[in-house]
Symmetry: C2
DNA sequence: TAGATTGTTAATCGATTAACAATC
DNA sequence: TAGATTGTTAATCGATTAACAATC
C-alpha cells in the first residue's frame, strides 16, 4: 500500500461524519457526486481518497453508505477499544471526559489524574474517578493504557509525557501549548486551541484589509 | 499581495509561538536556519512563508526576534482587541473562558450564555457572567461582538449561529460537531475534537498494521 | 572587505482535478 | 442491453525545496 498523505487522513473523519448523517437519514447508497455536493469537495477527490484503501464502491451504483461507513471506521481504528486516561481534571479535562460520543465509538476513559487534593477521590466525572497524579506511572503500566490526553499546562505536560514515554506510552492527545518533541515512533496529535483562534483572527484582519 | 495559502496561515501561529519562547530566553536575533532546527521545518520554507508578507529579515544578520514576533502578531490580528462571547457554559465553554492567555493577547470575553437556569446569573467564570441564552441577540447587537465561540451541541449550535448571522455576526469559533454551511463571507474556524482523536487512532492502527 | 544570510527565482515534488475505459 | 458511476491514468495545479545572486 502506498504512503497515505496527511491530507487524506484528515479528510477521513469528515467522510465518516457525513456518512453517519446519511445513515441517520436512512440513505442506503450514495455516489461520489452526491457526497461531493454535500461536502463541498470534488467527486474526483473522494474517489481518489477512497481508492487509496481499496475499491469500496461499485460501478453504476455508487457506494453503500453503511458499508463505506464501517470500512472507514475500521481504517480509523474505531472497530477496536482504546483505553485512554486524561491528565488534568480542570475544565478542559472534564470537558473531554464528558464528550459523550467518545464512549460509543470505542474509547474507554478509565481515569482522570490531577494534583489537586480537593478533587482526588472526591469527585467523579461522567462516572470516572479522579486519581492522584503521583500514582499515574503505576496505573498506566498496570492498566495497559494506550492513549494519554494531556489537558494541563505545558510545563507539567512535558514532564509527565516524558515519564510516560519511558514506561511505554506511545500515543498522546496533546492540548498543551507546546510540541512534545518525541521521536517518530511516539504518536502525538496536537490540539492547539490558541493557534486555531489565531487562524480565525488572521482571517478577520485579512478581510478588514481587503475592504480598505 | 498574492493569495496566501491555508498552509502558510496555519504555520504563522506556530512561528509566533516559537518566537515568543525565544523572547522569553532573551534571544535577540535568529536565522532561518536556527529556527528551522528548532521547529523541524526547512529554512527555505520559513523564508518563503515570511516573504509572502514582506522582507522582515536582513541579509547577513537574520531576523530580529522581537520585531518578527510583533509583525507576525499584526498579521494574526493580535494588535487589536477582539470582543468575543461563548455560547454554552458547560465544561468546554468554561475551559475556553479560563484559557488564561487569551486575555493577554487581546481577546476580551465579555459574556457566556447558557439555557441552564442554575447557571444564569448565579455563577461567574473567570470573572465573566453567565447570561440567559434568550437574551443573546440583543446583547450581540448592543455590545458589538466580533467572535462567537460555539461550545454546545450541533443542533442548538446551528440554530443559534443562523440567528446570529442574521444580526450581523461574521466570525464563529465552532466546537460543535458539524460544519456550519454559511457563505464565504462568514468566517468559521472549526475545532472538531472527535476528528482530531480519530486522526490519532488512525495512526495507531496504521502502526499496528505495519508491525504485522 | 569577507562572511553570513536573506530574498527570490527555478526545479522538484506532491496533491488535486479531469478524463475516460472498465464494469456493474 | 443501456445507463450510471466507479477505479485509475494522465494532466494540471500548487506547494515545497534547492540554489544562488543580492546585500547587509
Amino acid at each position: 500500500m502506498r504512503k497515505i498523505s496527511k491530507a487524506v487522513i484528515t479528510r477521513l473523519p469528515r467522510y465518516y461524519r457525513y456518512l453517519d448523517e446519511l445513515i441517520q437519514q436512512d440513505v442506503e447508497r450514495v455516489s461520489s457526486k452526491e457526497l461531493s455536493d454535500m461536502m463541498n469537495v470534488t467527486a474526483s477527490q473522494i474517489r481518489q481518497d477512497l481508492n487509496n484503501f481499496g475499491g469500496f464502491g461499485q460501478q453504476g451504483y455508487g457506494y453503500n453508505v453503511k458499508y463505506l461507513y464501517d470500512e472507514i471506521g475500521k481504517l480509523l481504528g474505531l472497530d477496536v477499544t482504546h483505553k485512554m486516561i486524561i491528565v488534568g481534571a480542570g475544565n478542559l479535562g472534564q470537558a473531554i471526559a464528558n464528550y459523550g460520543n467518545f464512549r460509543n465509538r470505542g474509547f474507554e476513559i478509565t481515569a482522570l489524574f490531577d494534583k489537586n487534593k480537593d478533587l482526588i477521590g472526591k469527585k467523579t466525572v461522567n462516572g470516572t474517578e479522579i486519581r492522584d497524579i503521583s500514582t499515574i506511572i503505576d496505573y498506566v503500566k498496570n492498566e495497559n493504557i494506550e492513549i494519554v490526553a494531556l489537558a494541563l499546562p505545558k510545563g507539567p505536560a512535558t514532564d509527565i509525557a516524558e515519564k510516560l514515554v519511558e514506561c511505554g506510552v506511545k500515543a498522546f492527545w496533546n492540548f498543551a501549548h507546546t510540541d512534545l518533541g518525541f521521536s517518530d515512533d511516539i504518536i502525538v496529535e496536537n490540539v492547539h486551541l490558541s493557534e486555531s483562534l489565531m487562524k480565525l483572527t488572521y482571517r478577520i484582519s485579512e478581510k478588514a484589509n481587503k475592504n480598505k
